[in-house]
């Protein structure tokens, strides 16, 4: 019977091409608008660390101003101080832990290998991090591995390259053991990681949630020898005399991002106790003037807390749903008009033995066909919408303004669902009308 209904639907649509085109267009535009924003919001709220959501935690310590809490939803600074990071790294409770921040500098091949000088130096986006970074975030190595054990505390000149940097510098060959020149200093390549671009960049939400992730990775022990100031936010609340780099490292400025991996409840409990003890100790030395408070947020909670999907995005979401609603009301009105015009035919069908259900189904199938057509065109409109967003956002949203299969299917689903919803009332209306009225001649 479904086949029969579909052929009837197509015939009916062909009979009123303009009205049908209007309905398809209305649904397509509604779906296109809704799916564009839904896709953006969906892509923006993805969690690249989903598979470790139960064991990874972003750490916050409240070392802030006694007079007022830090001005963000968590009421604690997002990052920790250098000196706290160094102390925390000594704990052996977490399975893995990472202290890190964003940095960068000019990189080039070692002059001895850059014989023709054909490779111009370029500025590489760097992540200065303790060595567990790769293990904690589950980043597979293409070649080699992380740097040696003491690199977290002493200035070891070893470097890990991203796949694209390795392609750029070494044409994708296994470069482990080769030397590159970073900021005028030779570094030995110890590893090359596979392409890794979480989006949103959950491990570093301070520096543009959708920016590219780092091109090179450098050991955490380099700070003093390079006098590293981070490329990222440094926040402070306390007036401090900073007269040397050592003062910067010992200050209350927060600029280090800190993550831990805690696998069991027992481990988590112990780590909480450890943090409590740590803060108490610091309080005894006159630091941490606020009430004792720290934060351990799972990746999913971290994304929420950092409001990766910002107010504008969420507002557009609501707006586009309202838009879809208007398109639906439009479709209901047009479908109602179309179906009621065919009421006489429905009356004849009823006289010839069609049950109410049959008449209802037939018209619902017709709405479904409109929805399917609308959905397919809606996908095209969504792709166009996303392309527009990419262009308007000047590259900032390239990683999220794209559609995956799930979203394409959702688009078709949304279109059919919408049109079935839109068709529900008109189809019900026509299946309820009394057939005998339409069978009379006058």
């Amino acid at each position: 019977m479904l086949g029969y209904y579909i052929s009837l639907a197509l015939r009916s649509l062909r009979r009123t091409p303009v009205l049908s085109a209007l309905m398809v267009a209305a649904i397509a535009v509604g779906v296109g608008a809704a799916m564009t924003t839904l896709t953006l919001n969906y892509m923006m709220s993805r969690n690249a660390l989903e598979h470790k959501d139960d064991v990874l935690y972003a750490l916050q310590l409240d070392n802030w101003d006694p007079h007022e809490a830090d001005d963000n939803p968590s009421a604690m600074p997002w990052q920790v101080t250098y000196k706290d990071a160094i102390s925390l790294l000594r704990s052996d409770i977490p399975t893995h832990q990472v202290a890190m921040h964003r940095w960068g500098g000019p990189i080039s091949l070692d002059p001895s290998q850059n014989s023709g000088g054909e490779m111009r130096p370029f500025t590489a986006e760097a992540r200065v991090t303790s060595r567990d970074f790769f293990a904690l975030f589950d980043i597979p190595f293409l070649y080699g591995g992380s740097w040696q054990g003491d690199a977290d505390t002493s200035p070891v000149q070893q470097i890990v390259l991203s796949e694209s940097t390795n392609n750029k510098l070494f044409n994708g060959e296994n470069s482990v053991g080769r030397t590159v020149n970073f900021s005028g200093t030779p570094f030995t390549v110890v590893g090359v990681i596979e392409h890794w671009q979480p989006s949103p960049k959950v491990h570093d939400l301070n520096n543009g949630s959708f920016n590219k992730s780092a091109e090179i990775f450098l050991p955490f022990g380099l700070h003093r020898s390079f006098e590293i100031y981070p490329w990222g936010n440094t926040n402070g609340w306390k007036p401090e005399d900073i007269n040397s780099y050592e003062d910067q490292l010992g200050s209350e400025y927060v600029w280090i991002q800190y993550w831990v991996q805690l696998d069991s409840d027992e481990q988590r409990e112990r780590y909480r106790e450890y943090l409590t003890g740590f803060i108490r100790e610091q309080k005894a030395q006159g630091r941490f003037p606020r009430p004792l408070k720290f934060g351990l947020s799972k990746p999913s909670e971290w994304l929420q807390l950092n409001e990766v999907v910002d107010g504008d995005d969420r507002m557009l979401n609501w707006l586009s749903l309202a838009f879809l609603l208007v398109c639906l009301v439009n479709a209901v009105a047009l479908l109602l008009a179309k179906f009621l015009r065919k009421a006489a035919e429905a009356g004849v069908r009823r006289a010839l033995g069609a049950s109410r259900k049959a008449v209802f189904s037939q018209h619902l199938v017709e709405s479904g066909c409109i929805g399917l057509a609308g959905g397919l065109i809606g996908i095209l409109l969504t792709l166009a919408g996303l392309a527009l967003v990419r262009q308007l956002q000047m590259g900032y949203l390239d990683t999220v303004a794209s559609m995956d299969w799930l979203m394409m299917l959702s688009a078709i689903g949304l279109a059919i669902l919408s049109s079935l919803l839109a068709g529900l009332y008109p189809a019900w209306r026509i299946s309820r009308t009394n057939p005998s009225i339409y069978l009379k001649t006058q």
Binding site: Y229, F323, L336
Partner: protein, 401 residues
């Protein structure tokens, strides 16, 4: 002759269809009204004067390849070279404003205070700063070469004078006499005299609620975070940008150089707002279009359905204009219902957006203008089919359908 009663009773028989159009118009008004205030607010925000010669400024940074590099020396040599370049009006080393990156500080009007700071964005620059940014000095003086110190963040240096924007001056000294007064950093007693006031500078973050409160200190800072701010003669910026790239690399090839137009950076900063404007404008126009099409479709449909009836009316003596008028009046009544519904819906929607997403309030005047436009569109959409209805021949009455 207004025949409202028969129209109303006919509409009553088609009440669901009529209501659907009204609801559609109402929802559209709610969306369009709210989108309009958001668009308006963003356009105004982007169009604000920045206080800076945005369209003439080129910025340049470099990153030295060597580890221990004498940046201050490079600044001196580069700036000497840049100021000689053709097309360059003025140049300094500071940080370019309006780019989304910079630093802020808290200022006090008395020494040794820690609570109740007035927030401001801070910049450092030499005696060319005001000229290079194209700012307008409204009181006091610019920095002179003697005022400038070479310093770094870890050197413990404190300024003894500052130039502030009019906005910051007014915030610090409500009596309007900021010039010559002293300001202080948090918990310090080192007085910083305000020697000059510039008309305006939106600072590093034009979208922050504090944008426009900006303070300038007389120093050349030895930091990674610097820009050569180069103001080109009008119309020369592309040429200057190209020259800069060339000459900076030429003077010292052992560094990575990046040259940008300030306007590009500002565009990038406003990309989110621009997206909002474009997307919302798109939504508004598409929505209006869809609703108009819907009205056309339904009016055409109703008219075809009532062809015979119209023929009978014509046969019984109704004039053409009476027929058109009938359908236009019908549309008018539906539109009025829709607009009334929509005005209420717009306010409700606006409350929601304002409380959830900090969007601006929707003034009644904006609603009224949007309502009027929608009203016009709705009538225009009904006009063509209504005029066509008048062309239906009275012979339609005798033909069987």
């Amino acid at each position: 002759m207004l025949e409202l009663r028969p129209i109303l009773s006919a509409l009553w028989r088609h009440k669901i269809s009529a209501l659907l159009i009204a609801v559609q118009l109402g929802l559209t008004l709610a969306i369009v009204g709210n989108a309009t205030v958001v668009i308006q607010e963003r356009i105004e925000r982007i169009a604000r004067p920045t206080g800076v010669a945005v369209t003439d400024i080129v910025t340049a940074q470099f990153m030295p390849i060597a580890k221990n590099y004498d940046r201050l020396e490079a600044f001196r040599l580069d700036l000497d070279m840049i100021r000689q370049l053709p097309g360059v009006a003025a140049a300094t080393v500071s940080r370019a404003p309006l780019t989304g990156g910079g630093s802020g500080t808290g200022l006090y009007t008395a020494p040794n205070q820690e609570i109740g700071a007035t927030g401001g964005a801070q910049f450092w620059g030499d005696e060319h700063l005001i000229d290079a940014l194209g700012m307008k000095l409204v009181a006091g003086r610019a920095f002179t070469p003697n005022d400038i110190t070479e310093a770094s963040f870890s050197s413990g240096w404190r300024p003894n004078m500052a130039i502030v924007t009019q906005q910051l001056a007014d915030k610090l000294f409500a009596n309007g006499e900021a010039l010559g007064q002293s300001i202080y950093f948090s918990g310090e007693d080192n007085p910083i005299e305000i020697v000059g006031i510039v008309e305006r500078n939106l600072g590093p973050w034009p979208n922050s609620h504090n944008a426009g409160s900006t303070v300038f200190f007389p120093a050349v800072m030895d930091t990674q975070w610097f820009d050569y701010v180069v103001r080109a003669e009008p119309g020369q910026r592309e040429a200057v940008a190209k020259l800069l790239e060339e000459k900076l690399a030429e003077r010292d090839p052992q560094r990575v150089v990046a040259v940008n137009l300030l306007e590009d950076k500002l565009d990038r900063y406003y990309a989110g707002d621009n997206t909002m404007i474009q997307v919302l404008s798109g939504v508004v126009s598409m929505l209006t279009f869809i609703v108009a099409l819907g009205i056309v479709g339904l009016t055409v449909f109703w008219i075809t359905q009532r062809q015979k009836q119209i023929g009978v009316r014509r046969a019984l003596g109704a004039s053409r204009s009476a027929i058109s008028r009938y359908f236009l009046l019908e549309n008018l009544m539906i539109a009025t219902t829709g607009i009334v519904l929509g005005t209420a819906a717009a306010q409700i929607f606006n409350r929601f957006l304002a409380s959830e997403f900090e969007q601006p309030a929707l003034p009644l005047s904006t609603t009224a203008i949007c309502a009027l436009i929608l009203f016009g569109i709705s009538l225009a959409a009904a006009l063509v089919p209504a005029l066509r209805a008048a062309n239906i021949s009275p012979a339609m009455a005798t033909r069987s359908v």
